[in-house]
Symmetry: C2
Subunit: 315 residues, 2 copies
C-alpha cells in the first residue's frame, strides 16, 4: 500500500493547498499559498511545486511518497492537460486516467483528470477538483446511501448526483462570480455600504429568489429596496447574496430534485458551507456540512486504487 504516505495537492486557479498524509490516510501536515495557476508561466509549475512541498520530499527520502495533483492544474491553462473522463464515473475510472508530469529529480506527480458531463440535450459541463473532493467525502462519510446530492459552493458552484460511489451527473452554477460581477461592476454596488452580514436581508433575498420575473428583474430590487430605504445600505450585499444563492438553489433542485429526502452534503470553507446550509434549511431541506480535507482524502483513495490497479510507474 502507501507505506511512505502521500502528498496531495489541490491546485486551483488562484490557490495552492498541499497535504502530507500518513500511510493510514491521516493528514499530518498542510501548506497553503496564493500560488494558483493564473500566476504561473509555462514551465514554472515544477519549481512552484518543489518550493511548496520540497521539504516533505526531502524529509521522506530515500522513500518517495506519491504526489497527486487535482484541480485546474490539469486544465489547458494549467501544467499539462489531463483529458476529461466522462460521467458516469467512479474512483476506478479516475484512478485509471491519472496523467503523469515530470517534477524533476527523476520523479513524477500524477494529475487527476476532470469530469465532463454530456447531457442528452443542452451543453456539456465540466468539473476539475470537485470530483476529488466528492470522492474524499465518500471516503470520510461513507457511500452508505443509494443516492446522494452534493453541493460545492464557490466562484463556480458545483452540484453533483452520486449513486453507488459513482458521479452520475453534475451542473455548474456561476453564483460566486456572478455575485461579484453584479456587486462590483453594475449599478447595484452604488448604494451598498460595508457592514456585517445581514441575516434578515439574506433571508429576504432567498425567499424572493425564483419568483416570477427571474433574476434579471429581481436583481434590480437591490437598487429599489435601497432607494426607498426598505433595506439598509449595509444590508444590500447580503440581500443580493440571498437572491443569487436562492436562484442557484432553485436551479439545482429543478435539475436534481431531492425526492429521497436525504441530507444534501455541502463541501466548502466553514463560512460558505454554513451559509448554504442555512439556505437549504430555510427551504425545508437537510444539509450536512463538510469542511474537512476532502480533496486530500480523495487523492488518497485514488492513489490506493492506482496501486491496486497495478498500473505502471508510481503510485
Amino acid at each position: 500500500m502507501l507505506e511512505s504516505g502521500l502528498i496531495a495537492v489541490d491546485w486551483g486557479t488562484t490557490g495552492f493547498r498541499a497535504y502530507r498524509l500518513d500511510a493510514d490516510g491521516t493528514v499530518r501536515d498542510r501548506v497553503a499559498a496564493r500560488r494558483g495557476i493564473l500566476g504561473i508561466t509555462a514551465g514554472g509549475h515544477a519549481d512552484v511545486l518543489r518550493e511548496q512541498i520540497g521539504g516533505w520530499l526531502a524529509d521522506a527520502a530515500p522513500a518517495v511518497p506519491p504526489v497527486l495533483l487535482c484541480g485546474m492544474i490539469g486544465s489547458r491553462q494549467g501544467w499539462q492537460e489531463a483529458p476529461y473522463v466522462s460521467c458516469p464515473a467512479g474512483a476506478e475510472d479516475l484512478a485509471a486516467a491519472l496523467t503523469p508530469v515530470d517534477i524533476g529529480g527523476g520523479q513524477h506527480a500524477w494529475i487527476v483528470p476532470g469530469l465532463a458531463y454530456h447531457p442528452p440535450d443542452g451543453s456539456p459541463d465540466v468539473i476539475r477538483g470537485e470530483e476529488t473532493q466528492i470522492l474524499g467525502a465518500l471516503e470520510l462519510r461513507g457511500a452508505d446511501v443509494q443516492q446522494q446530492l452534493f453541493c460545492l459552493p464557490g466562484t463556480h458552484s458545483k452540484w453533483a448526483l452520486v449513486a453507488d460511489g459513482r458521479i452520475l451527473r453534475f451542473a455548474t452554477f456561476m453564483s460566486g462570480e456572478v455575485f461579484a460581477a453584479l456587486a462590483e461592476h453594475t449599478i447595484l454596488g452604488r448604494l451598498m455600504e460595508d457592514g456585517p452580514s445581514d441575516p434578515a436581508a439574506f433571508a429576504l433575498g432567498l425567499d424572493r429568489a425564483g419568483a416570477r420575473g427571474g433574476i434579471l428583474h429581481l436583481a434590480f430590487s437591490v437598487r429599489t429596496e435601497g432607494l426607498f430605504g426598505r433595506i439598509p445600505a449595509t444590508g444590500l450585499r447580503s440581500y443580493l447574496s440571498g437572491l443569487v444563492i436562492g436562484e442557484e438553489l432553485a436551479g439545482a433542485l429543478a435539475l436534481f430534485g431531492n425526492d429521497s429526502g436525504q441530507a444534501i452534503t455541502v463541501i466548502g470553507a466553514p463560512d460558505l458551507a454554513e451559509l448554504y446550509g442555512s439556505a437549504l434549511r430555510r427551504r425545508g431541506l437537510r444539509a450536512r456540512l463538510l469542511h474537512e480535507d476532502a480533496a486530500a482524502h480523495g487523492c488518497f483513495r485514488l492513489a490506493r486504487l492506482r496501486l491496486q490497479l497495478g498500473a505502471g510507474g508510481d503510485p
Copy 2:
C-alpha cells in the same frame, strides 16, 4: 396651444438628446451629445443645457418655446429630483407633476417625473424617461387597443402594460448591464473573439434560455460550448446575448403574459429593437418596432396637456 413649438430633451445617465418641435408636433431638428448626468457636477446642468439648445432659444426669441426634460435628469443624481408618480398613471398625472428648474435668463424648464410601481408583494420598481417614450408611442401610433405591452430594451430594459392610455404596471430587467458584466468581468469573456453578430448562436441562446437550471447554470455553457468547440469563439458573444435576452423574455412574459395576442411594441435604437423583434418572433409573438423620436412626442403631449390644465408658469 404651443405656438412657438417645443424643445424636448431626453437626458439620461450617459447621453443627451434634444429635439426642436414645431407647433404641430413635427420634429424639425435634433442634437445629441455624450453629456449624460454622470459627467456633470452639481450646478453645471443649466450651462450644459444652454450649450446644447442655446441656438434654438436664440432663434425663437422673443417667443420662448417651452423646454421639457425627461429621463435620469430628474433623479437624485440629476439636476433636481422630480418625485415619482405612482402607477397606474397616465399623461394627465405626469403633466400635473412637472417640476420646474431655473435655466437662467428668467426661463424655466420642466422636468417630467419618473414612475414608481409598488406591487402588492415584492419590491418597488422605478422608471425615468421610458414613461415619456411610451406616451410618445401612444401619440404616434394611437391607443387604439384596450391593452398593450411595451418593451424598451437597453442597459435596463423596461416592460410596461398599458390600458386606456394609462401605464398600469411595469418591470425592470437588468439585461444590458448584466450582459456587459458577464462578458467583461467574468471568465466567460476569455474565450470570446470579436466578430460579426452570429444569428445562429444568438438563436441557440434564445432557445435554451428559460431551461431548467436557470441563467446561473446556463451562462456557464458559454464557456463549455467554446471549450468543446461547438460554438466558434466569434459566436460566443451572440450566444450569451441570446441567453440573456431569452431570460428577459421568459421573465417578462411570466410577469405580463400576452394573452391578448396583440403585437408587442418595441421602442429602441434600430439594431436593438430589431434584435428584440426577432427574439419575440422566434417565440411566436408579434412585434412592432418603433425607433422614431418617441421621447420628443411624449414631451409634446405632456406640454400640450399642461397648457390645457392651466397650471401656472410656462408651459
